[in-house]
Symmetry: C2
């Protein structure tokens, strides 16, 4: 079970909240990128970035020189991972909605104790198998990379699925279509780099990205 605190407790539409650990892991495994929010010079900042997870830790990374990553280290951050599953068409515009799976994590980002391990998690979340297939970071590259760790204790998960919830009057009126237009993320055909020698096959770990 997650441990919701006041700021991680769902205020609105709490019936959509799920507190189980599996739900959190499902969302974090299904998402590809996250949105990291932090405060820089008194202003809120949000930026999209990759992530990885190992058990109770979320890993984020960036260039050691990046302003945002420097600001995030040791600071309060908030991370959202969101997967949109469809548009919900209701009889009223007011009941229009989205089907989605969403996780929001609050905490303090700290420098990862094992940078390489964090990078492995981040690389293999974005591109499963690449850590083992590609050249791993050398000392110079490691030094130029910041890796932050964020504890997953303070997290909330929200999901919406299924058909629209319409008012009885609107259903009775029967004047509008209602339903769901599903949305899926689909991988296309791999595009080999122009400078890749001919005849090198696409490796299995690339072909199988996202295949359960």
């Amino acid at each position: 079970m997650l441990s919701p605190t006041p700021r991680s407790t769902i205020g609105r539409k709490g019936h959509r909240a799920r507190t189980e650990r599996e739900a959190l892991e499902e969302v974090l495994d299904a998402g590809l990128i996250c949105h990291l929010a932090l405060i820089v010079d008194g202003s809120p900042i949000v930026l999209p970035t990759g992530y990885g997870r190992d058990r109770d830790t979320l890993y984020l990374h960036g260039s050691s020189g990046a302003r945002s990553l420097r600001a995030a280290s040791g600071a309060a951050v908030c991370v959202a991972v969101t997967v949109v599953d469809g548009v919900v068409y209701a009889r009223s515009t007011n009941n229009h909605s989205m089907n989605y799976r969403s996780a929001v994590i609050h905490g303090t980002a700290t420098p990862a104790t094992d940078k390489e391990h964090g990078l492995r998690m981040i690389t293999n979340h974005l591109a499963p198998g690449s850590w083992e297939h590609a050249r791993q970071p050398n000392r110079r590259e490691l030094a130029a990379t910041s890796v932050l760790a964020l504890d997953l204790t303070e997290a909330s998960v929200k999901m919406r699925g299924g058909p629209p919830g319409d008012d009885a009057d609107d259903i009775a009126a029967g004047t509008a279509w209602a339903g769901v237009l599903p949305l899926r993320q689909v991988w296309g055909e791999p595009e080999p780099a122009p400078d890749l020698p001919a005849g090198i096959p696409v490796p299995e770990h690339v072909l199988r990205h996202g295949v359960p």
Copy 2:
């Protein structure tokens, strides 16, 4: 041209920045949801939400009772819209990347002067044509909805496309595959609501969502 300020000027990888107004509009038109960051009780908060755009204004909405929307009104906010176009496999893990289109907007969210107009923009961004097709909000629903406006003046756009950028040594070594695995968002077959009377066809505006 956008007007970059210090906080909206790209620090890292500035060569990926685009400052043209068309690039901003392209990203905002291509995205479905945004991530809204704000400061609540001194902590950064980020939440996924719908949005709409009309010329130089971004619209956001939520329940009047929602803590986050109350906090956002009159406050500094940051909004990110991100479209991921693919995973970039490089010869080294260090050069792995993503192809993406991303917009980040800074500003002060203010209550929309014309709530209904803002809601129309938000509804028709999520579900083009729904404002005209479905029942529009009544007085009670309008009162229960907050609509915020955010000026698009202070925005930055970043995009990455194309093949990986690898180090010459790694290309020469020739030990790893390199290329792009494209990612697309694809609409599925519309799923009529279970309580929709049989024989009602799926309207054109639903079938054509996302069709240029």
